[in-house]
């Protein structure tokens, strides 16, 4: 592979196009230095500035760390590998905005658990990625810092809310990014940008230091160029954390250990809801091709029903927004956050102006709905009822996993759409997550991986497993990835 490119007289490397194992070998053999990788990232960020996938860069610290690592032994596969971090994961001394004016100048005083983990592996944080404000959105159009453009077509949305993370990986600026997934925020932008994104089992990765949106649904997960590398990042970030009550105690495992095993005889369920008439025909066609390929390889596939799964959107609107209204109550603009310049008469006015001016349109809309469903008798009529339906859906998944190894379906109902489309439709962003929400309700692990391309726009499918069976997801995903052999890379195809 050609490793040096000459652009306008400046020598630019493309080491980051190599596989993780190849980069690791070059670092071990001292053919390249950590600083080469870091400088390549910042050079690519500069060349792709219009994608708007970063809010804050960590250039000075990244260079400093890269130089420090030159004298250390390469002791793990992620050593000196650059990574981008979604801007709702707090980073000590590095601005963390959540894509909001509310936290425009917020400098955290400690690191999130996952940041400590990637620091332990000596990965290098390149910067904080753009996202929908407080992770509320599925197109990255609600960010205070502007829309993120799709890596495959700059007139299309990137998806969200982890749009900046997905685009930074897809456009090959960084090999890895961390995202968070409350209703599909890792999987949906991964599908829209042709990369691999995993939402781990709820409790597998500590949420300590993740700015909460909906605490019973949020989960941090890895985003990468391919399946194997995704499993390597998951290996790094999992673990029991006493600072997160919901973090689970599990034995250390290698999530890549089942990759390459035979899939003949495995049983897969496809919920009829996942192939309903609202799903784009091109997406269904690509998904059906994969299903036929799996059948030809000896996989048993059945179509099944899950009770109440069609109510996922209103269920999410009640549970997620109720939790969000409570979680976001802490942002009063007094101890930290946006502060109004307006003349105010009392404390109530101060809170209302700080929050009214600091939050964007989508966030305010969601806080209001959440506050409403939790007020007075509405708790019985909406919230408790939603929790009962959540139990039924979760039980429905559990029952299916008694008989089947996997549940699969498309990740999204549509291909990436035009920027600005559906801006006046208050429910569109929820319906974008129609197929991803049920997984969060049940706390299951699920991955989106690319399965095709249509009109130069990527298509993704979801693989869902029972709780704590991520290794099985990697096994099937890796098989499909190998069979399809897509190697999606948007560079060269970007619309000028």
């Amino acid at each position: 592979m050609e490793v040096l490119l000459v652009l306008g007289g400046i020598i630019m490397t493309n080491y980051l196009d190599l596989s993780l194992i190849e980069i690791n070998n070059k670092l071990k053999n001292r053919e390249i230095k950590p600083i080469d990788l870091v400088m390549e990232c910042f050079s690519k960020i500069e060349n792709n500035e219009d994608l708007n996938c970063f809010i804050t860069l960590n250039k000075e610290e990244a260079i400093k760390k890269a130089l420090e690592l030159e004298n250390k032994e390469v002791d793990n596969i992620l050593f000196a590998i650059p990574i981008a971090i979604k801007d709702n994961i707090i980073t000590k001394g590095l601005k963390t905005t959540c894509g909001s004016n509310m936290l425009n100048n917020f400098i955290p005083t400690y690191d999130a658990y996952v940041i400590n983990k990637i620091n332990n592996c000596n990965m290098i944080v390149i910067g904080k990625t753009n996202m929908d404000e407080f992770a509320m959105g599925s197109s990255n159009q609600t960010s205070y810092f502007g829309c993120v453009l799709n890596a495959w077509n700059k007139s299309k949305v990137s998806g969200g809310s982890s749009g900046g993370s997905a685009v930074s990986v897809s456009s090959r600026i960084v090999p890895f990014a961390l995202g968070s997934d409350t209703g599909g925020s890792i999987r949906q932008p991964s599908a829209f940008n042709g990369i691999v994104g995993l939402k781990p089992t709820y409790g597998r990765v500590s949420r300590y230091g993740l700015v909460s949106f909906a605490s019973s649904l949020d989960q941090i997960g890895p985003m990468s160029r391919n399946v194997l590398e995704n499993s390597m990042l998951l290996n790094c970030i999992v673990g029991k954390d006493n600072n997160d009550l919901t973090s689970c105690e599990k034995d250390i495992e290698d999530f890549s250990r089942l990759i390459g095993e035979d899939i003949k005889g495995i049983k897969i369920a496809i919920p009829n809801f996942y192939v309903n008439d609202n799903i784009n025909n091109d997406i269904k066609a690509n998904f059906n091709n994969v299903v036929n390929m799996l059948k030809n390889k000896g996989v048993i596939v059945d179509y099944v029903d899950i009770d109440y799964i069609e109510y996922s959107v209103p269920l999410y609107q009640i549970i997620a927004l109720a939790e969000a209204s409570s979680n976001l109550a802490r942002f009063d603009g007094i101890r930290y956050g946006y502060c109004t310049d307006k003349k105010i008469n009392n404390a109530d006015e101060l809170y209302k102006y700080n929050r009214g001016e600091g939050f964007g349109e989508e966030v305010k809309r969601r806080i209001m709905i959440g506050s409403y469903v939790l007020s007075g008798d509405n708790v019985q009529e909406y919230y408790y009822k939603a929790l009962s339906i959540r139990k039924i859906i979760s039980d429905g998944f559990s029952n299916l996993f008694k008989e089947y190894d996997y549940i699969i379906g498309p990740t999204t109902t549509t291909l990436p759409y035009n920027i600005g489309e559906g801006q006046n439709d208050a429910v569109k962003s929820f319906f974008d997550d129609l197929l991803t929400i049920p997984v969060n309700m049940a706390g299951l692990p699920a991955m989106s991986l690319p399965i095709g391309i249509n009109n130069n726009l990527p298509i993704g499918m979801q693989i869902i497993c029972n709780k704590f069976e991520e290794a099985k997801i990697y096994k099937l995903a890796s098989f499909i990835e190998k069979e399809l052999n897509l190697n999606l890379d948007p560079r060269g195809d970007l619309n000028e």
Partner: protein
């Protein structure tokens, strides 16, 4: 002098009735598609949010769109009596109290109204 024949009078009465029916339909239709100003201000108050006039008008429609979806749950007849509040199976155990040293200076620097070693709250009175 204007003389209206009996047939014409009937037509005028009919026209008057039709116009009123159309007006009522439009009024009800408008009401059905929007929340009232009072309803929007009520939920904004619950969420401790100030809204300007433009936002109030916008949210009248948008909040109604979301509530139409949310009400699908309200209208369901559910037999299940158990709840799923969290997918975590962990038992709620409180961790031991632990004193951690924090950098006071760094914490204070995040406040926009710092007053020496305190966080100030801006306060204006009408008088």
């Amino acid at each position: 002098m204007l003389i209206i024949r009996k047939e014409e009078h009937l037509i005028y009465v009919l026209l008057f009735l039709i116009i009123n029916v159309v007006y009522v339909i439009i009024y009800i239709g408008d009401f059905m598609d929007k929340l009232s100003r009072e309803e929007v201000l009520h939920v904004a108050h619950l969420g401790k949010l100030y809204l300007n006039e433009e936002e109030i008008e916008k949210y009248k429609i948008q909040l109604k769109q979301i509530m139409d979806e949310v009400n699908k749950i309200k209208n369901l007849d559910i037999k299940e009596s158990d709840f799923l509040v969290s997918p975590s199976d962990n038992i709620n155990i409180y961790s031991n109290h632990e004193i951690k040293q924090v950098d006071r200076e760094k914490i204070l620097s995040n406040s926009c109204n710092r007053d020496g070693s305190f966080i100030g709250v801006r306060w204006y009175n009408n008088d």
